[in-house]
Structure formats: C-alpha cells, structure tokens
C-alpha cells in the first residue's frame, strides 16, 4: 500500500497568490508524505482550457488524484494538511 504510485494533477487559474500558494503547498505535502512515489502536473486552465473540460472542473485551484483509485478532487489552496491527507485517502476518514 505504501509503495503505491500517486498521480496528481493540480489545476490552477493563472498566477494568483492563491494558485502559487496551492502549487507550493501541494509540492511540500507530496515531498513530506509521498516522497519518491508521486507524479505531479500543474496545469494552468488559462493556458490549457481544453484540459479543464475533460476533468469536469468547476473551480480552481483543484487537485485531482487520478491514481490510486478512487479518483478524488480537492478544491482550495491545500493549506490544511489534515484535509489533504483525508482527501487523498492517506488517512482513514472519520
């Protein structure tokens, strides 16, 4: 279980403070909890709007866990580590 590879996509809307913070938070989170077993792509919905459609996004920033299944979406700047841990199924839900 612990060596499962995580495939994550972070959708942001441009270079806002919140988007850049979301990028920072997610990267720090991954290094801490998923070191060596994650692939993270950051996609700007302004630059690649077509990708937003396939993901059925409704807001940005959105972090999507593609793998391992099930697929999860988290919205916000990912500043709450607990919430991200739960959202990515890294700790059991209460």
């Amino acid at each position: 279980m612990s060596d499962e590879r995580y495939v994550l996509k972070l959708y942001v809307a441009g270079m806002t403070a919140r988007s850049t913070r979301a990028v920072e938070n997610v990267r720090a989170f991954c290094e801490k909890h998923l070191e060596g077993r994650y692939d993270l792509q950051v996609i700007d919905v302004y630059q690649q709007p077509a990708l937003a459609r396939t993901e059925q996004l409704i807001a940005a920033p959105t972090l999507i866990k593609k793998l391992p299944l099930p697929l999860r979406r988290l919205i916000g700047d990912m500043s709450n580590e607990e919430r991200v841990l739960v959202g990515l199924d890294l700790v059991a839900r209460t």
Partner: protein, 571 residues
C-alpha cells in the same frame, strides 16, 4: 448478500460524492478559490473571482517589449506603458489611435501585410513623437475573444542590439585587416631586403664585371629608397590616424606641381602610356602634402594598370574648385571593395607579382590629406577590369606671380670641408664617411659622445654631423656643452652642428634646435640635401660668440627632412 453489498457500495459512493460537493461548497464559501470554470457554447469560460488578471497585467506593463492589442483595422485597443514610452506619447493618447502613424513610411507596406495576415515577424522602424527613430522587431499573433478577432503586436526595441552587433562586426573587420596588414608588411619588407642581399652577393663576386656591379649598385639604391618610402608611409599614416599632421599652407601652383609629379612617372614608368592635360590653377596647400596626394593617386593607377595600359591625368577648374582626375583602364575596383577603398589597410588584389609593393595605406593618406586641405576625393569604377577614375577637388585660389616651387635646382657640389661624424652604428658611420670622402671632404669620426665632444673642441671642423642617440654623452648633450663653451672651435670659426636622427616630428626638431643644433637631418640622409647643406655653409659666420637663437635659426630653408611643417613650431 450481494445486493446488500451493492447497496452498501452505493451508499458509500453517494456519501463520498456528497462529501466532495460539501467540501467544494466549503472551499467556495471560505474563499479558497480563484475562478469558476463554466461550460459555455464556445467551450470553457473561466470566470476569475478577483485579481487573477493582475499578475499578468504587471508582467505585461513591466516587460521590456512594447505590447499592443490592435483591431483588425490596426487601431490600438490596448497598449502597455513600455509601448507609450517607445513612441514618446502619453499612454492616454495612444489608445484609440492608429498603429500605422508610428511606423515609418518605408515599413508601412510590410506592417499592413502582417496586420492582414494576423501573424509573423518583421524588422521595422518606429518614428517616435519626439523625432527619434527606433529599430524594432514586430511580432504579430491573433486571438479571438467572444467572437471578436484582435491582433496582438509585440514590439521589441533592437536598436542597442544593432549597435552592439555593428560594433562587433567593425572590430572584427579591423582586427582582421590588421592581421592582413602585418602579414603584408613582413612581405613588403622582405622583398627589398632580399633584393639588397642578392645585390651585395653580386658585388662580392662580380670582380671586373663593371656592368653587373653598376646594376647591383643601382638595385641597392632603388630598394633602399623603396624601404625608406615604406617607413615614411607608415609614420605618416600613424600621424594621420592620430590627427598629428600639421600643414604649412601657402598659395601653390597646382598645375606646375601636377606636371612635375606626373613627369616623374612618365619618365620612370615607360611601360604605360601617359596622357597629361593640365590647365593653370592655384590652390592654398602644403606643397609636400599635395605632391604626396598626386603621386599616391598616379602611383596607384600605375600599380593597378597592366603593362601597356593608359593613364590619363587631367587638371582644370570646375565651379571654383581645382579638379584633378586620374583615370586608368586597368584592373578597376569591384563593387564590394569600392565603398571601402579609402579605408586603412584595404587594397585590391593584384594579379601582378606585387613587385611594386604597397601597404594599403596610400589612399587612406590621400583622403585624410585632401580633407585637411578642405577638399574631397572620390572614386568611380565600373567594376573589375573596367579601370578606375579618381577625382580630387580642392578649393582654387587666385594665382600668385612667382613660381611656388623654390630650391628645385640640380644638386650642388660643395667645396671641400672638414667634417666630423659622431655616430655609434659602425656601418652607418663608415658609409657616411665614405660618401663624404668620395665627395672630397676631409672626414674625422667618433663612435661615442665623449670622444665626439673632444674632437669637436680640438679639431675644429667646419661641420659636425652628430647622431642624437649615442652611448655615454648623447647628441643633444654634445651640442649643449659645445655651445655653452661659446659655440665655436678653438680657432674662432663657427662650427655648423647637424643633428642626425630617425625622428622627424615637430617635437624632435624643436629639441634639436634648443640643444644648439643648426640643422636636423632625418635618416637615411638624402644625399642631395646633404650636399645642399654643406654648400650652404660656404662662408662660416666669423664669430667667436654663439649667435642669438633667432639668428641661428635664420637658415631655416636648409632644414631638411620629410617633416617640413615642423619648422613652424620654432617660429
């Protein structure tokens, strides 16, 4: 069991989706998002909540490029601050106007075609409101927002880049020209040296073969003269480049000068057909320099015209200018070389064996000297093998009654003199001594300063030739000490002191004068100048006292050497 599981699964899935929806609402409510993404008829629309655009705005406003958004007609819908600065127009006055007004006429067709095409890059020139012109790169892209088509035009100022580029190109060209020059200089020096070496060999072996000996002597003389001319050219071009040539201008019979200069070539260059047509015209010029101009241009025509070629020299008055034309039917000048032909170290290829030699500095000298005389020089050539035409224009002045060319008579043989030579170079001393003895003078010599001064005091020569650069006591010091004694020999007659030096600058002449020399001869000593100098001293000044400086300097006509203008610094 299976149904129960399925129901449990479904509940869990629903719960998760509900949780996700709740989580999304929570994030939205707590302001954790930037934008909503909404499906519209034209695809995804991104609705930024706040300040999502601001960072782009800052980036675009602060970037070094001018950024504009144009309507398809070319009106400016938006521009950044940088663009307004580039064209020197307040930001508020730019938007709404036409882009084309800032583009110079010549570049407008290119601009229009890019505007119509909607994409592409091109160099252009902007005309700023303050009169400046700015070289730029225009880069067009197209974007469609809400069915409205716009042109994005990015304008990059490349003027500094172009300046840096051209500076680098020029430096590279110069460095290359210098390398070529050094190679050529070595070649040019080796040619006469090898001729001289061979001639000396002939002299050693050709006992009794009078004709061979005469020929070898003639060749040594001619090649030495050639070497000396190369060195003169080098020194001159150095002065020209640093702007240190001072002219001694006076009314000059240009017609006479051209005729005499051309005559030197017509006598010497019998392989070419000369045609000389000159009409009387006077100019205000430095005779030595004007002759240099004329002989350089004619010499150039000779060099670049094959045997049997025709060279036409004509002089006349046109619109108040004396106009000299030298035309040949020789190798001509290629269109690539034509604009650079007057540049330093540039010269055309010659199919001949370079026997005439040259350093590629003659025409640079010509142009600079003509400009110093407030004139112009130009060249025309239809191309390779079509000949060349050089035209020099100098302001004409009214004629003066007397012939401007003095002291041009035949060499005068001096009567016998008692001569002292002080020179540390053994070969030079020996040859100089032989030259004077063959002419019937009584010669004594010394190889260093103290002995020289001693001989000067005890032997009382009529004339003393003193090299200024001597070991021990230098030439200046000899002159100073001797003049301090009273400037005369023991028997009371005045001794003529002549400085021998390789330097012909005004400074050098002034230094000799101050030390107490009467004359200043530049090495190699021109035999004619030497004889003239010796004969000018027919009647030694009967004085035991040093003449006042002004009087010493009255014999200025006898100052010899290439730097005639130098004597003006003494007055």
């Amino acid at each position: 069991m299976r149904d129960d599981l399925s129901a449990a699964e479904q509940i869990r899935s629903l719960t998760e989706r509900l949780e996700e929806a709740e989580e999304t609402l929570r994030a939205v409510r707590s302001g954790e998002i930037d934008a909503f993404i909404v499906q519209g008829p034209a695809g995804e629309q991104i609705y930024a909540l706040r300040s999502a655009e601001q960072p782009y705005r800052n980036l675009i406003e602060d970037m070094l490029e001018g950024a504009t958004i144009l309507t398809v007609e070319g009106d400016i819908a938006y521009c950044n601050r940088r663009f307004a600065e580039l064209v020197s127009v307040p930001l508020e006055d730019v938007v709404g106007g036409s882009m084309e007004q800032f583009i110079v006429g010549a570049d407008r067709p290119a601009y229009r075609s890019l505007l119509a095409a909607g994409s592409g890059k091109r160099r252009a020139r902007l005309a700023a409101a303050d009169g400046r012109f700015v070289d730029v790169l225009m880069s067009f892209t197209t974007s469609v927002t809400d069915d409205v088509e716009r042109r994005n035009l990015i304008i990059t100022d490349i003027s500094e880049l172009l300046v840096a580029q051209s500076g680098r190109d020029r430096a590279e060209q110069q460095s290359q020209a210098k390398d070529e020059f050094m190679a050529m200089l070595a070649h040019e020096l080796r040619n006469p040296l090898s001729a001289i070496t061979a001639a000396v060999q002939v002299l050693e072996q050709a006992k009794g073969h009078e004709s061979a000996i005469t020929r070898a002597r003639f060749i040594i003389g001619r090649q030495a003269q050639h070497l000396s001319r190369l060195v003169d050219d080098l020194l001159d071009v150095g002065r020209v480049v640093t702007g240190k040539i001072a002219l001694e201008r006076r009314a000059l019979d240009f017609c006479d000068l051209v005729r005499r200069t051309a005559a030197v070539f017509t006598e010497r260059e019998t392989d070419h057909q000369f045609s000389v047509n000159v009409s009387p015209v006077w100019i205000n010029g430095d005779g030595v320099r004007i002759e240099q101009i004329v002989s350089n241009i004619i010499g150039n025509a000779v060099k670049y015209t094959p045997v049997g070629g025709k060279i036409t020299v004509s002089l006349g008055i046109e619109a108040g200018d004396a106009v000299l034309r030298v035309q040949d039917d020789g190798f001509g000048i290629t269109p690539e070389l034509l604009p650079r032909i007057f540049d330093l170290f540039v010269q055309g290829e010659r199919t001949l064996d370079r026997s005439q030699g040259g350093l590629g500095i003659g025409l640079t000298l010509v142009r600079r000297l003509v400009e110093l005389h407030d004139g112009t020089v130009g060249v025309d050539s239809e191309g390779a093998n079509c000949g060349s035409l050089f035209t020099v224009r100098l302001p004409a002045v009214p004629a003066v009654g007397v012939c401007g060319c003095a002291d041009d008579g035949p060499p005068i043989r001096a009567s016998q003199r008692r001569v002292l030579i002080v020179e540390d170079n053994r070969d030079a001393r020996e040859m100089f001594r032989m030259m004077l003895e063959l002419d019937g003078h009584h010669v004594i010599d010394a190889e260093e300063g103290c002995a020289g001064l001693q001989l000067l005091r005890t032997e009382a020569p009529d004339v003393a030739f003193i090299d200024v650069g001597l070991p021990g006591l230098d030439g200046y010091e000899i002159a100073r000490r001797f003049r301090a004694d009273g400037g005369a020999a023991a028997d009371g007659h005045r001794v003529l002191l002549v400085a021998l030096t390789g330097y012909g600058t005004p400074d050098a002449l002034e230094r000799s004068r101050r030390a107490g020399f009467d004359h200043h001869l530049i090495k190699p000593v021109n035999p004619e100048a030497l004889y003239r100098l010796l004969s000018s001293h027919e009647e030694p000044a009967p004085t035991g006292v040093a003449a006042p400086e002004g009087r010493l300097y009255n014999g200025r006509l006898n100052w010899c050497g290439v730097e005639q203008s130098g004597s003006s610094s003494g007055s």
